[in-house]
C-alpha cells in the first residue's frame, strides 16, 4: 500500500482566515532578522573581511587551544581567534586583516606559520584574502543577491503579471532576510559558501510560490464567481501535498549534506534547510495573502458581490 493513499488530494485548510497571524509572524521574522543583522551582525569569513584563515591538524590531540591562543596573540597581528573544528585536534585560526596592503597579509601568514613550527601535523587549509579581493567579493555578493532577486521577480512578472511579481518579490525578500537573520543569530561564518546558500534559497524557495501562483491563475479561470479568498485557499490546498512532498525530499537530501558533508558544508546546508522551510511557509503565508491587496479579476463578475479587499500582511 502506498502512503500517498493517506494523503487527501484536496485538503480543506483555511489559510486565508489566518492572515492576521501570518502577518504578525512575518513581521517578527523580518524585523527580528533585520534587528539581529544590525545589532549582532554577520560573522564574516575571510572571503569578505579579508585576512587569513588556517585550518591545522595539531601534533598533539586534543589541541592545546589555550597555548596556541597565547602564542598567536603575542605576534602583534591583532585579535587572533581559534576554535576547534570538527575534531579535537583540528583548529581553525582566524587572523584579522592586517593594515598595510596586500603584502602585509602574506607576511602575517608567514609569521603565523613560523610561530606554529613543530606543532602542526598538517596544514589542512590556508586562505589569505587581501583587502582588494575582499572588497570586490563583498560587492559581488551584494550585486549577485540583488540581481537574482530582481531577475526572479522579472520572470514571475513576465510569466504572470506585476501583482504576482510583486508578491513573489516580497516572499523572496522575506526568505532571504530570514536566512541572513539565521546566520546572524547562530554566528555561523558568513562566507562565499553561505552566500551560495542564500542565493539557492532565493532561487528555490520561489518554486513553491510559483507552483501556487500557477494554481491560483488556473482556479481563477475555473471559478469565476467564487470569492477571491476561497479561490486562494483552493489553490493552496490543491498544491499542498505536492509542496510538502517536494520540500521533504529536498530536506532529506540536505540532511545528508548537513550530517555527513563535513564542516565546510555544514553551515551552507543549515542555511538552505532553514531557507527552504521558511520559503515553503512564506508561499502560503506571505505570497498568496499579498495577492488580495490587488484586483485579481479585471471586472467583478455580475451576480457576485464585489469582494472586500482587506490588506493581509
Amino acid at each position: 500500500m502506498n502512503l500517498i493513499h493517506f494523503v487527501p488530494v484536496e485538503p480543506k485548510l483555511d489559510f486565508m482566515g489566518q492572515t492576521k497571524i501570518f502577518a504578525v509572524i512575518a513581521a517578527v521574522i523580518v524585523l527580528g532578522s533585520i534587528g539581529l543583522f544590525l545589532v549582532k551582525g554577520l560573522n564574516y569569513g575571510v572571503d569578505f573581511r579579508g585576512g587569513t584563515l588556517l585550518e591545522i591538524k595539531t601534533v598533539q590531540a586534543p589541541a592545546d587551544l589555550e597555548g596556541l591562543r597565547g602564542t598567536l596573540n603575542g605576534l602583534g597581528l591583532g585579535d587572533v581567534t581559534l576554535q576547534e573544528f570538527g575534531e579535537n585536534d583540528v583548529v581553525l585560526i582566524n587572523v584579522p586583516r592586517q593594515d598595510g596592503g596586500e603584502e602585509a597579509q602574506q607576511e602575517a601568514l608567514s609569521t603565523v606559520r613560523q610561530a606554529l613550527e613543530g606543532q602542526v601535523e598538517e596544514y589542512r587549509r590556508t586562505e589569505t584574502v587581501g583587502p582588494k579581493v575582499g572588497s570586490e567579493l563583498r560587492m559581488a555578493a551584494a550585486v549577485a543577491t540583488v540581481l537574482s532577486m530582481l531577475g526572479i521577480m522579472l520572470y514571475v512578472w513576465v510569466r504572470f503579471d506585476l501583482v504576482y511579481g510583486g508578491a513573489a518579490l516580497a516572499a523572496l525578500a522575506h526568505d532571504v532576510i530570514a536566512v541572513i537573520g539565521f546566520y546572524a543569530l547562530t554566528g555561523i561564518e558568513f562566507n562565499l559558501a553561505t552566500l551560495a546558500a542564500v542565493l539557492t534559497v532565493a532561487g528555490y524557495s520561489i518554486n513553491d510560490t510559483v507552483v501556487v501562483f500557477d494554481r491560483v491563475r488556473e482556479e481563477l479561470r475555473r471559478f469565476k464567481k467564487l470569492p477571491i479568498p476561497d479561490v486562494l485557499n483552493k489553490a493552496i490546498n490543491a498544491t499542498l501535498s505536492r509542496t510538502i512532498l517536494t520540500t521533504s525530499t529536498t530536506l532529506l537530501a540536505l540532511f545528508g549534506l548537513f550530517f555527513f558533508g563535513g564542516e565546510v558544508i555544514r553551515g551552507f546546508s543549515a542555511g538552505i534547510i532553514i531557507g527552504i522551510v521558511v520559503g515553503t511557509y512564506s508561499s502560503w503565508a506571505v505570497a498568496v495573502p499579498l495577492l488580495t491587496l490587488a484586483r485579481l479579476r479585471p471586472v467583478a463578475p455580475t451576480g457576485a458581490k464585489p469582494e472586500k479587499v482587506k490588506p493581509a500582511v
Partner: protein, 522 residues
C-alpha cells in the same frame, strides 16, 4: 496516445547511452580503462583543488612598477642619444610619470623633436620651446600590458614546471591579474618564493669615481644597495650606471655549480650577449662592473681582462638552494613586471581526501533517503521516479566528465541538492495525475493531462532557480562556481528526466495494464 513520439524515444535513448558512456570511466580503475580501445572516453571527472589538494594564487601584475622602470630606461637611452648628437641637456629625469628635460642651447629643439620622432614611434612628445615632456602612448601601453601578461604566464610556467609534468593552470583574469592553480602543492611558501622575484639580471658598470656618501648621483645613474652591510646595519650603497651592458635575456643557459667549494651559478651568453660583453670588457679593463639582480648588486668584480669566452659565473655568497633557484630563474627568464599575491588558498591532501569522502557519503545518504521516501510514498510510480533520479545522476556525471568541468565540494553539494529538487517535477506530475483520476478521467487521459498541465509549472519553477544559479556563477569565484555548475546542470537534466523519461516509463506501464486498472497512486 500511450506512446511517446518516435523522435522523443530516440532522443532519450541517445542521451542515456552517451551519458553512461562518458560517466563510466569514473567508476572504473585505471588499468581497466587502459585496456579499452582509444575511441572510448578515458577521462575521469576533473576534481577541483579543494578536493585533490593544491594551491590557488591570484596575483596582480604591477604595471605601475613596470612603467616606472621603462621611463627610467627611456630617460637613460635619451641621454645616450643626445650625447651622441652632442646636444647638451639639463634636468633630465622622470617626474610625474613622464620623462622631462630641457636643452642647454636654444634653437636645437626641432632637431631633437625629429630625433625622437625617428627613434621612438611610441612616444607622445609635448614640447614648449626647449623643454620636453615625454610619455608613452595609451595604445602602446595597452599592447604592452597584453604582452606582459602573456610573457608572465610563459615565465611562470617555466619556473613552476620546467618539466611540464604538473597539471598546472595559469590563466589571465580580467585586466591585470593572473590566476595560478597548482595541484598537489600544500606548502604555498615554496610556490611564493618562485613567483615573488622578478629575477631581472643586468650587467652594468659601477661609477667608481662617484662617492655614494657625498656626491650627487649623476643623471643616468642610480644608487643601488649591495649585499655588504655597514656597521650601522644599512647596506653599503653603490652608484651604478643605468646603461645595461648585457641583461638576463642574453643568457642561453644557467646552472648551479661550485667554485672553490662555494656555490655559484655558471651561465652562457648567447652570440649577441657574448659579443657585447666581450667588447665592453675589452674597452674597460681595470674598471668595476656590477651584476645586478632586481635592483640589488649581488657582485661587483673588477675587469682584469677582456671576457670573451661567452661563459661566466656569478658568485654572490649563495647557499646551495639559492644558487639552484637563481639558475632556475635565469633559465626561465625574468618576469617583465613584479607580481603581488592578492588572494591565496591552499588545501592540504588530508582535507581534500576527507572532503571527497564526506561528499560521497553525504550524496549517497541523501540519494538513498530520497529514493526510499519516493518508493514509500508512491509505490510503483515512486520506483519509476527513482529510476529517473538515478539516470539524472548519471547524466550529471556524464556531462561533467565530458565537459571536463571542475567538480568541487560545493559542486558535490549541488548534485546532492538537485537530487532532492529533481523529485519535484515528478511529484508535480503524479499529483496532477492523481487529481485527474479523481475527476473521473480514464487512465490514459489522466496521465496525458497530468503531464501536460504539470509541464509549465515545472519549467516556471526551475527557471527561477536557474536564474539564481547563473548569477552565482557570474559573481562567484573558485569552488562556488562549481556549485552553480552542478546546480544548473542538475536542474536541466532533472527537467529532461521528468518530462521525457518518467513519462515514457509511466506510459509503458499504462499500456501493459488491462482496461479499468486503477492507478497505483489514484
Amino acid at each position: 496516445m500511450l506512446e511517446l513520439p518516435r523522435w522523443q524515444r530516440i532522443t532519450i535513448l541517445i542521451a542515456v547511452v552517451v551519458a553512461i558512456f562518458y560517466a563510466l570511466p569514473n567508476v572504473l580503475s585505471r588499468s581497466t580503462l587502459d585496456a579499452f580501445p582509444d575511441w572510448v572516453p578515458h577521462d575521469k571527472i576533473n576534481l577541483g583543488l579543494d578536493l585533490r589538494g593544491g594551491a590557488y594564487l591570484l596575483t596582480e601584475v604591477d604595471f605601475d612598477a613596470l612603467e616606472a622602470e621603462q621611463l627610467r630606461d627611456l630617460s637613460a637611452s635619451i641621454l645616450v642619444l643626445l650625447r651622441q648628437e652632442r646636444i647638451g641637456v639639463r634636468g633630465l629625469g622622470v617626474r610625474d610619470g613622464q620623462v622631462q628635460f630641457a636643452l642647454r642651447e636654444a634653437g636645437r629643439g626641432d632637431q631633437v623633436e625629429d630625433l625622437l620622432f625617428r627613434d621612438y614611434p611610441d612616444l607622445e612628445v609635448s614640447r614648449d620651446g626647449e623643454r620636453f615632456v615625454l610619455g608613452f602612448t595609451e595604445l602602446y601601453l595597452d599592447q604592452q600590458r597584453n604582452n606582459v601578461i602573456e610573457q608572465t604566464i610563459q615565465v611562470l610556467s617555466r619556473r613552476l614546471d620546467e618539466t611540464g609534468t604538473k597539471a598546472l593552470t595559469i590563466q589571465r583574469q580580467g585586466f591585470d591579474r593572473i590566476l595560478l592553480q597548482v595541484p598537489g602543492v600544500d606548502n604555498p611558501e615554496e610556490l611564493k618564493a618562485l613567483i615573488d622575484q622578478t629575477a631581472k639580471l643586468t650587467f652594468r658598470f659601477v661609477l667608481e669615481n662617484v662617492d655614494p656618501e657625498r656626491d650627487r648621483v649623476p643623471a643616468g645613474a642610480s644608487l643601488l644597495p649591495t649585499d655588504q652591510v655597514l656597521p650601522s646595519g644599512e647596506p653599503l650603497m653603490a652608484v651604478i650606471s643605468d646603461r645595461v651592458i648585457v641583461s638576463g635575456e642574453n643568457l642561453t643557459d644557467a646552472q648551479p655549480s661550485f667554485d672553490g667549494g662555494l656555490p655559484v651559478v655558471v651561465f652562457r651568453f648567447d652570440a649577441f650577449g657574448g659579443q657585447r660583453f666581450c667588447d665592453a670588457t675589452r674597452a674597460n679593463v681595470g674598471r668595476q662592473f656590477a651584476i645586478i639582480l632586481d635592483e640589488q648588486v649581488i657582485s661587483a668584480p673588477v675587469i682584469r681582462d677582456a671576457i670573451c669566452g661567452g661563459n661566466g659565473q656569478i658568485s654572490g655568497g649563495f647557499t646551495v638552494d639559492e644558487a639552484a633557484q637563481l639558475a632556475l630563474f635565469l633559465r626561465a627568464g625574468a618576469l617583465p613586471a613584479p607580481l603581488t599575491i592578492i588572494e591565496e588558498r591552499t588545501v592540504g591532501p588530508g582535507l581534500g581526501a576527507d572532503s571527497i569522502a564526506a561528499g560521497e557519503i553525504a550524496s549517497v545518504v541523501g540519494v538513498a533517503l530520497v529514493v526510499a521516501f519516493m518508493a514509500a510514498i508512491y509505490g510503483r510510480f515512486g520506483l519509476l521516479a527513482d529510476v529517473a533520479l538515478i539516470l539524472n545522476l548519471i547524466i550529471i556525471l556524464g556531462v561533467l566528465t565530458a565537459l571536463q568541468a571542475t567538480l568541487t565540494l560545493p559542486g558535490i553539494a549541488g548534485i546532492a541538492l538537485t537530487m532532492g529538487m529533481a523529485v519535484d517535477a515528478n511529484v508535480l506530475i503524479f499529483e496532477r495525475i492523481r487529481e485527474e483520476v479523481r475527476n473521473g478521467r480514464s487512465l490514459g487521459l489522466a496521465i496525458d493531462a497530468g503531464f501536460k498541465r504539470a509541464i509549465t509549472t515545472i519549467i516556471d519553477s526551475n527557471v527561477t532557480t536557474l536564474i539564481a544559479a547563473v548569477l552565482l556563477y557570474q559573481f562567484g569565484t573558485g569552488p562556488i562556481r562549481g556549485f552553480a555548475v552542478t546546480l544548473s546542470l542538475g536542474l536541466a537534466s532533472s527537467m529532461f528526466c521528468a518530462i521525457l523519461v518518467t513519462r515514457w516509463m509511466v506510459l509503458s506501464w499504462a499500456r501493459r495494464q488491462k482496461r479499468g486498472t486503477r492507478l497505483p497512486i489514484g
